[in-house]
């Protein structure tokens, strides 16, 4: 299956996205979403508050680490701080994506959209990209600020431990992988539940499993080997790149249009 995605990715020229999808329609959804987010107080608030909250703790932790810690203890505490930073790419897109389908249905916009030539896959990919982009922007900015603080204000030994190459790379890679998981799982939830609040609650829960695995590593319950990290990354990559197929499969036009009698 993943081969076919790769093949269709290669095939995709101008106008055609992967799987024969239309890049133009995906772009239309993407742009509409970003415009809508910018004027949605809940989403703007989430994007501002969640990162702040989850920034403060690891940064304070980092700055208060004493110089004389043994290397292993230092690594664990820095790992924990970085894990904390991964909560943002898990939770921010979950909050956004909870609205993706059920929100459109509730406001009555799903019906006109589904009578245009757009296909479920295109609609979903556009939504996913629109949730991914601001998430990456926020997460990387946070990470940059965190590293800047380490460089400028932390004990030199702590800064050195925080700024190690493999660790940075892992953080950079896991940010989109974790976000992708949240986005697809929560969009799937949003396409199946009948209430936005249920989508939000289930979505928050569903965004946690990748974090749970990482935290087991951080707490040394599972040993954080390279092989384990690569395996986790591979699993997430598969979920992220095939998520649109799974979600498109549970996206039932008729059910979405007629499921609720309270269309307004």
């Amino acid at each position: 299956m993943s081969m076919s995605v790769i093949r269709s990715l290669r095939r995709g020229g101008a106008g055609a996205g992967f799987g024969g999808m239309s890049a133009g329609r995906i772009r239309a959804v993407f742009r509409k979403e970003l415009r809508d987010f910018r004027r949605n107080r809940f989403i703007v608030g989430t994007m501002a508050v969640v990162p702040l909250v989850f920034m403060v703790l690891p940064t304070v932790e980092l700055l208060t680490m004493p110089a004389g810690l043994p290397t292993s203890a230092l690594d664990t505490r820095i790992g924990l701080a970085m894990l904390y930073l991964l909560i943002v790419p898990a939770m921010v897109p979950a909050a956004i994506s909870a609205y993706s389908v059920i929100g459109e249905r509730d406001q009555g916009t799903l019906e006109p959209v589904l009578t245009t030539p757009i296909r479920a896959e295109e609609f979903l990919v556009g939504k996913a990209l629109a949730a991914l982009l601001p998430t990456l922007f926020i997460s990387y900015t946070m990470f940059g600020v965190f590293l800047g603080c380490a460089e400028l204000f932390a004990q030199p030994a702590v800064a050195t431990a925080a700024l190690r190459g493999p660790q940075l790379l892992a953080q950079l890679l896991f940010t989109p992988l974790v976000a992708g998981w949240s986005i697809w799982v929560v969009i799937a939830i949003s396409a199946r539940v009948s209430d936005v609040r249920v989508a939000q609650q289930l979505g928050t829960l569903a965004s946690l499993p990748p974090l749970a695995v990482s935290s087991l590593m951080s707490f040394n319950v599972i040993h954080p080997t390279l092989r384990l990290a690569v395996t986790l990354a591979a699993v997430l990559l598969v979920v992220d790149s095939l998520g649109w197929r799974a979600v498109a499969a549970v996206f039932d036009r008729e059910r979405l249009i007629t499921g609720s009698r309270a269309l307004r």
Partner: protein, 315 residues
């Protein structure tokens, strides 16, 4: 008109679980026609539009929409050629009017989107509101944005589901005028409504339905077909022997005295029966106060049809 019909519907049926939304609907809509789908709440109008608009799958029957058979594989192709304006316009309230239209132009991948948006806004007289957020618009204006959105792709068939429901009379009148404009420009429109006057005013042909299709025809045709023509005669005093006056008249099939004291004559052709009736009345020395052709409104037809038993009216 040699072109293929805009809609061909045969035996189309939709059940929701055990509930029948509409059943055995068959009709054809020609290009350029404004076809009215008239019925009370719950008659199955919205379900029919959704079925023909590829949102829900029919339980039975078949249809050809804008030249393409209604099958799942043709969904995208059909949607490229049609537009549906649902009962509630479904606008993104945080986006401006122009941004809403831009989004839908993008979904249709329309070339020259900017021009099309301007044209669509001009068509609904909203050019000056392009930059307004939809949240700030009244219900009537939102409906007009919905109409502009439906015009963007120059649809082969435009479905309008109760376009004036919930609008005040002025706003409803404006939407009526816009639809009349579109009709003048040859746009094929499938219009559902529960308002008789709307159907009569806007539509070339009207289908009256209540779960099943009761009848189809031009508004004037329906009136003629469903009510026998009659003459109403009022005299100063009751006739001594009305049977002798009316019984032998050519073209008068039967007569009866109605509750108000008028004689109602069932006739095949009022134009030839009326002079004969007057001559007979004069010969019988009756003081005629008035003689008129009775007028039935479409409303009479409508109420009779939707109330009647489907088995009976199907016959």
């Amino acid at each position: 008109m040699s072109s293929t019909p805009a809609l061909v519907v045969e035996g189309l049926t939709k059940h929701f679980g055990g509930r029948t939304a509409f059943s055995e609907a068959s009709f054809t809509v020609e290009p350029g026609e404004v076809f009215g789908f008239l019925g009370p709440n719950g008659a199955g109008k919205t379900s029919t539009v959704r079925t023909l608009g590829t949102l829900i799958a029919p339980t039975a029957g078949s249809a050809v929409v804008a030249g393409l058979p209604l099958t799942p594989a043709n969904g995208v192709g059909i949607r490229r050629r049609i537009s549906v304006m649902p009962e509630s316009p479904g606008l993104y309230l945080r986006l401006t009017v122009a941004e809403n239209l831009e989004f839908f132009a993008g979904l249709h991948e329309l070339p020259g989107a900017r021009d099309r948006i301007e044209r669509a806004l001009r068509a609904v007289n909203l050019s000056d509101r392009a930059g307004d957020p939809c949240r700030a618009l009244s219900k009537g204006l939102r409906q007009r944005v919905g109409l502009a959105r439906a015009l963007l792709n120059d649809p082969t068939v435009l479905f309008l589901d109760e376009p004036t429901s919930g609008l005040d009379p002025v706003a409803a009148r404006e939407v009526h005028d816009l639809i009349a404009d579109l009709r003048g420009r040859g746009v094929t429109i499938f219009l559902t409504t529960h308002r008789l006057a709307e159907a009569e005013r806007l539509c070339d042909r009207v289908a009256i339905m209540n779960t099943t299709l009761r009848t189809i025809g031009r508004p004037d045709e329906l009136r003629e077909r469903l009510f026998r023509k009659s003459l109403e005669v009022r005299t100063r005093a009751p006739l001594a022997d009305p049977d002798r006056v009316f019984g032998a008249l050519d073209g008068v099939e039967s007569w009866q005295l109605d509750g108000s004291g008028a004689y109602v004559l069932a006739v095949s052709d009022p134009d030839s029966a009326a002079p004969a009736a007057v001559r007979a009345l004069v010969a019988a020395d009756a003081d005629v106060l008035s003689l008129s052709q009775s007028q039935h409104s479409l409303e009479d037809v409508y109420l009779r049809l939707i109330e009647s038993d489907p088995e009976v009216s199907a016959a």
